[in-house]
Symmetry: C2
Subunit: 385 residues, 2 copies
């Protein structure tokens, strides 16, 4: 069992939406195909992975550093009890990388490492959640709580547009929601929040996301304004690495605080646990395997959270897509984000994944089942040669 | 005054040496040339910059994200009182980048932003240290303390090789030195340290560098072994982001501790200041502008250090090369690293920069004076078209 080739492609994200900090108009994602010499159903077995949304494709780092290391490694070093040894893939992918500086390279490695999980699941002819659950010694979660993450800022925007968007989510079966804040004045954001709550059916069903924009004073002003609403959570309040600010907010805001999607290594998460004031049983962790070197490092992160006294049910990974749906199932995490109508071709799930009463059942196709997502299929075909 | 083109080239580092964590055999650095429509001495004015050593070239991020943003920006937005507005260059270079994740992209931006400082100095017909000093409202330091950073691990190694290397540094005018530790057993490292001290003329002239390798127990064992030697400093003891470990070490080790070369943003440095236990008047900061988005962000970092009660004389940037020599002079930092015989074509200084009694005087050529470094000149010519 050998790797014949690894292909990568930078795939642009569709749409021209913004949060309070960035526009996604020029964003892209790295799609990776690991082609093996194994033949299944008359075709070479191919594993697919991608990094997650929001931190750009990583073609340069993949081509120049990560893929040459994997392709030049001893094939035996990559083999393991489960097919491929994903921890070895991680180790080889970061060889000769200095410690610290967990940014773009964490995405590059994540895209490749996840493709090997897809391969292992396909070798075992099972959905990836089953492979992941077995690897981590768990029983997969069958029904995954999902929430609709939307409410971005658009060039043509308004409360009616926002309410229409949320109403569509309600109609398609969601019962939990998230919208962006911080891209307008507090007054205007407060109107957005009120308009959203009117559709969502209560503050406890609505989370708000500042995307790391606020300084402490702004964060506090917003906190005081929203605290009476009993929101689901208050997300990425300040700079994601400003653990002191996070701690101060946990001291003064009684509702749940969510963060972690822009922490890309176990060491960064350890700092959040050590210094960020996160409160067990209340606050939410949102680290995303595709952005933090893949599932090997992500497994270490969840382990670290638990050792620090946090329940894995409070982990809601950033990134609403099929790969994270399998990870949430296989690792029994709290739930999954969904981008029902944005960030194509990666965002959202395959057509058979219907939301019912706020839950989705992951597909039973082999691997992550990316092939069953029509928006993604043409790109998979393009890089499978 | 407009930018006509920006070229970038990944230049391999010469040599096959290792520290305790990585081999530099496959390492490279991004060299950048910003070509303007200004004609000086009959030739188009070109600014050169590079990121620093150790974190790889960033051709992908430069070509795909950073350079298109700068090249598509309004030329007026890049102009400033000093020629080009380097802060605007930084701001445009990171547009639509999410917060956090300060890794590879910080190097990509650093290489470009520094090239604009080279341009500004050449526009003013002065060495870069003069431009930098004026920008930050300071008087440049004329004689820069430098230390010889060597003592790497080689495939063919031994105490005699190490002593020969250090003796050559002494003979060429150095009076302060650094060697690697952590790549051998404590016993063997202790022999290396003793052998080095015998040449250096005392422990206070010798620093040791673990390159982030140690866990707390190992770090403590080494600390106890070296504490009586009164070494110059004990560098990058544990993971560069493990602020809790750094704090514990500052609690138990009485000598100076040095760290920061693998922190690439003001927010990461703020965490070191908040949580790392660094002791004013004793411990050493080693952040490197080329790895942390360039001199705009580096200026913020030095400012932040001072506000936290640390003297800028305790900043010794990582990266022994001409760009950092000018930065240390223009910002009155403590001193500069030198790699007298390694990391060509970037390491070390130009031939007229002679070490005398442990000091170097930066060259008075316009800009960083990279053109006067013979090892680098062919690469500059290659990308100036």
């Amino acid at each position: 069992m050998k790797i014949k080739a690894i292909h990568e492609l930078s795939v642009p994200l569709e749409g021209a939406l913004s949060n309070s900090v960035v526009s996604f108009a020029g964003h892209d994602v790295s799609l990776v195909a690991v082609v093996t010499d194994v033949v299944k159903n008359g075709k070479p077995l191919v594993g697919y992975g991608f990094n997650s949304i929001g931190r750009f494709a990583q073609g340069g780092i993949l081509r120049e550093r990560v893929l040459p290391r994997i392709l030049s490694s001893d094939p035996d070093a990559l083999r393991g009890d489960e097919g491929f040894d994903c921890e070895a893939v991680y180790r080889i992918a970061v060889r000769n990388e200095k410690p610290g500086g967990h940014g773009d390279r964490a995405s590059a490695v994540g895209a490749v490492e996840l493709a090997f999980w897809d391969l292992n699941a396909k070798l075992a002819d099972e959905p990836a959640y089953a492979t992941i659950a077995r690897h981590f010694g768990r029983e997969p979660t069958r029904r995954i709580p999902v929430y609709a993450a939307g409410g971005y800022y658009y060039a043509q925007d308004g409360l009616e547009r926002l309410q229409g968007e949320l109403r569509a989510y309600v109609d398609s079966g969601f019962d939990a929601f998230k919208i962006k804040i911080g891209g307008a004045s507090l007054d205007d954001d407060r109107k957005r929040i009120d308009a959203a709550i009117a559709i969502c059916g209560g503050g406890s069903r609505l989370a708000v996301d500042a995307n790391g924009r606020f300084d402490f004073d702004t964060a506090l002003t917003y906190a005081k304004a929203i605290e009476p609403l009993g929101l689901r959570w208050y997300e990425e309040i300040g700079d994601p690495l400003d653990f002191a600010l996070n701690k101060r907010m946990t001291d003064v805001y009684s509702g749940a605080i969510a963060t972690g999607e822009n922490l890309f290594s176990s060491q960064d998460v350890m700092n959040l646990l050590n210094f960020g004031g996160m409160r067990p049983g209340r606050d939410i962790f949102q680290m995303d395997a595709g952005l933090c070197y893949g599932l090997t490092e992500f497994g270490r992160i969840i382990d670290m959270m638990e050792k620090a006294g946090f329940d894995r049910g409070f982990a809601y990974p950033h990134g609403g897509h099929l790969i994270n749906l399998h990870i949430v199932s296989g690792m029994n995490l709290g739930g999954c984000e969904a981008y029902p109508s944005v960030f194509q071709p990666f965002g959202g799930y395959s057509p058979e994944c219907r939301v019912r009463d706020g839950f989705i059942v992951p597909p039973d196709l082999p691997g992550f089942g990316l092939e069953a997502k029509p928006e993604l299929k043409p790109f998979l075909d393009q890089i499978s040669g």
